[in-house]
């Protein structure tokens, strides 16, 4: 539903308050696109606030512990624009079909900030809301309000969070009512194109009591050369006894950048699973917070990353046990080649009184080159009793004996290394539920390894 230009202008903050823009400002005005006319007032207000907060929040600095080891230059931007025109949407829809899952409950394809295809959402069980975020804001404003951007960006990404809040246009809102189980995944493809443009994919998943759903976001570039920025946010609210599973597969071209914020809230006896896969982009940063808010809550945090060339993947996590008798289990895996860098900084925080907590955290790095650099900073803060916690990180190379075993079966050395590295990455993905989902991710790894120099 395109909007008249005048309408859009009217939703912008007035120039007085927005300026003067500091030098090197990322955007000269809030990114806008066509959007529904009937957005709720609270949202328009929020958006304005976010924009001001974005302008006021300084860029990341070295002294901020959340940016230790990061290459700060990656988190600076100049004169970006919102993606508008988009090439060949038919082609990307066809590619999504080829590339994506065979069996989905619903599928959405976004070309930049615009929805270009949606399928299956109308056939979901009664009471399920599964809509593009802008439509959801217009049609279910009060419900979205309860959950929209409610989680604090605690891990250094406040500026990005504010920008996202001011600018999101694409992505979906999924609300699964009490007791409803959606077996097949909901699949969303985000395509980007347009040099020096940005998109702001939003994913908001709410599972009410005993409901269940899986949402998968794919991120892909429509061209090999356009430098795009994605500032994405996924929030998950898994209410009592429910299951929410989320997977992000990031495969932007090697000139693009990705910032992904995640706030997960897990309720009584509920389980939330997040899995961040990074294979593309020049730079990707994930900030993922899981809050365990009631007994029986279980959070699984997974990640598999394949870095080569000069890629930098920066991941910051927080397992926040606010209640006792809760469990969190984190497994992040990086396979590094060439001069790539990874940073993992993870904190387990067990709040006062959160007794009988189990919290695990593992970061494993497989170094495929002497020049690659894996940084790990695990952390623990425990303020309760009867707590089982473990954390650790390891870095190693592929063992000669493993290679020998594969080669002794006729597999060439390059392929042998590839299989072992891929197996290493599969180990995190294997914890997901859904055979086709896992197979699809492993297939994408295989394609990515096939082009690895």
């Amino acid at each position: 539903m395109p909007n008249p230009v005048a309408e859009i202008e009217s939703t912008m903050p007035d120039r007085e308050s927005a300026s003067p823009a500091p030098r090197g400002e990322w955007f000269s005005h809030p990114p806008r696109h066509d959007e529904p006319a009937n957005l709720p007032d609270w949202y328009l207000e929020r958006r304005k606030e976010c924009w001001h907060r974005f302008l006021e929040t300084p860029e990341p600095v070295r002294t901020d512990e959340h940016w230790r080891f990061a290459t700060l230059g990656n988190a600076k931007f100049e004169q970006l624009d919102t993606a508008t025109a988009f090439p060949e949407t038919e082609e990307i829809i066809a590619k999504t079909h080829r590339w994506g899952l065979k069996e989905t409950a619903a599928r959405f394809v976004f070309a930049g900030n615009r929805l270009v295809e949606s399928e299956g959402a109308a056939d979901l069980p009664q009471g399920v809301i599964c809509l593009p975020i802008m439509e959801a804001l217009a049609a279910h404003g009060d419900l979205v309000r309860e959950h929209f951007m409610q989680e604090e960006a605690r891990l250094g990404g406040a500026k990005f969070a504010a920008l996202h809040g001011a600018a999101t246009l694409s992505g979906i809102f999924v609300h699964v009512p009490r007791g409803v189980v959606i077996e097949k995944p909901i699949e969303v493809a985000h395509w980007a194109a347009g040099d020096q443009t940005a998109i702001f994919p939003h994913t908001l998943v709410v599972t009410e009591a005993n409901a269940s759903v899986t949402v998968l976001d794919w991120f892909r570039s429509a061209t090999p050369e356009d430098r795009t920025l994605a500032v994405a946010n996924v929030d998950i609210a898994a209410e009592d006894g429910s299951r929410a599973q989320y997977v992000a597969f990031q495969n932007w071209n090697d000139r693009s950048k990705h910032f992904h914020l995640n706030g997960t809230r897990v309720g009584r006896d509920a389980r939330a699973t997040s899995c961040f896969v990074n294979v593309g982009s020049a730079w990707s940063r994930n900030e993922s917070v899981s809050r365990l808010t009631a007994p029986g809550a279980d959070s699984r945090m997974l990640s598999s990353n394949l870095a080569d060339g000069n890629q930098e993947f920066d991941q910051r996590t927080l397992q926040l046990h606010e209640a006792g008798h809760t469990t969190s289990d984190l497994l992040y895996k990086n396979a590094l080649y060439d001069r790539s860098r990874t940073i993992f900084s993870g904190l387990i925080q067990v709040c006062p009184g959160a007794h009988h907590t189990d919290a695990y955290q593992k970061c494993r790095n497989l170094l495929g080159s002497d020049e690659a650099e894996a940084n790990s900073m695990p952390g623990l803060e425990i303020d309760a009793d009867q707590v089982k916690c473990s954390h650790g990180s390891t870095s190693g190379q592929i063992s000669d004996e493993e290679i020998f075993y594969l080669r002794a079966r006729g597999i060439a050395p390059r392929k042998a290394r590839q299989m072992i590295s891929q197996g290493f990455l599969n180990e995190a993905v294997e914890h997901l539920d859904g055979e086709e989902l896992k197979a699809a991710i492993e297939q994408r790894f295989e394609e990515r390894f096939a082009v690895l120099a």
Binding site: E401, F404, Y405, R407, A408, R409, K415, M419, Q422, E427
Partner: protein, 251 residues
């Protein structure tokens, strides 16, 4: 060109210590040869050196397979040329499923651009697994990860059956097997016996040779073959123990 695996005056060192000290052995296709010997006599070293393990340095001698020089080949080349080693201690490969592993091994034998027929592959694999009484769940599990000793050995034989080598070296395939598993594994090996295939069965115990009956038995000691004979040699050895060989040598 002779259709055999032929080892001639082989000398092998590791870290400057000689372990194989002039070993000569010829295994014609169609025959099963057994090597017995006490722990530390160099049996596994021989097996691994034949497979091309890079820790070992060949300081002398030659190995040919159907007249083709083996020592000049890469590890993976040897396998594709038809040499197979069933490991004494098979390695675990986390995250790589058994099925994918086997498939990659078979794919490696096809000409470039040719793809394995997935349906035929699974059919074949399941048939072999049934013969070895292996549960289907092993197709999806990571190679050898969390397998019991016996399961690992069966898995080695499964690989041998799928890859159909010209020469198979089985390094202590019997160790870690209970009597039922031993019988199943031996049946698998026996089903592979053919005029087109030679076997070198390495074992510490005579027991295996009740199930896989060898044409020739060799005794290895301190890096050399010190005695050769027919299957009765294995029985004699079992009866008198390895000390008998040592004493004879000392005399």
């Amino acid at each position: 060109m002779n259709a055999s695996l032929s080892i001639n005056d082989l000398h092998v060192s590791v870290d400057g210590t000689e372990i194989i000290k002039g070993l000569t052995l010829e295994i014609p296709k169609g025959e099963v040869h057994a090597i017995m010997g006490p722990n530390g006599s160099g049996k596994s070293t021989l097996a691994k050196v034949l497979a091309g393990h890079e820790d070992y340095e060949v300081t002398g001698g030659s190995v040919t397979m159907d007249g083709q020089d083996v020592l000049g080949m890469e590890i993976d080349e040897r396998s594709r040329a038809g040499l197979f080693l069933a490991f004494q201690y098979p390695h675990e490969i986390p995250g790589v499923s058994n099925a994918n592993f086997l498939r990659a091994a078979l794919q490696a034998r096809l000409p470039k651009g040719e793809e394995i027929d997935a349906v035929a592959f699974y059919k074949e694999m399941y048939a072999r697994m049934d013969e070895l009484e292996m549960d289907r769940k092993f197709t999806g599990r990571s190679v050898n990860e969390g397998f019991s000793g016996g399961e690992k050995k069966r898995n080695e034989i499964l690989q041998m059956m799928m890859l159909e080598p010209s020469f198979a070296i089985l390094d202590e395939t019997d160790s870690g097997l209970d009597i039922d598993a031993l019988r199943i594994v031996a049946q698998g090996v026996n089903s592979m016996r053919s005029p087109a295939r030679g076997f070198l069965v390495i074992t510490h115990y005579q027991r295996l040779l009740d199930y896989i009956v060898p044409d020739h038995v060799h005794v290895m000691f301190d890096g050399r073959i010190v005695r050769s004979g027919d299957k009765s040699l294995a029985l004699e050895l079992e009866e008198k123990g390895y000390d008998w060989v040592k004493e004879e040598l000392a005399a």
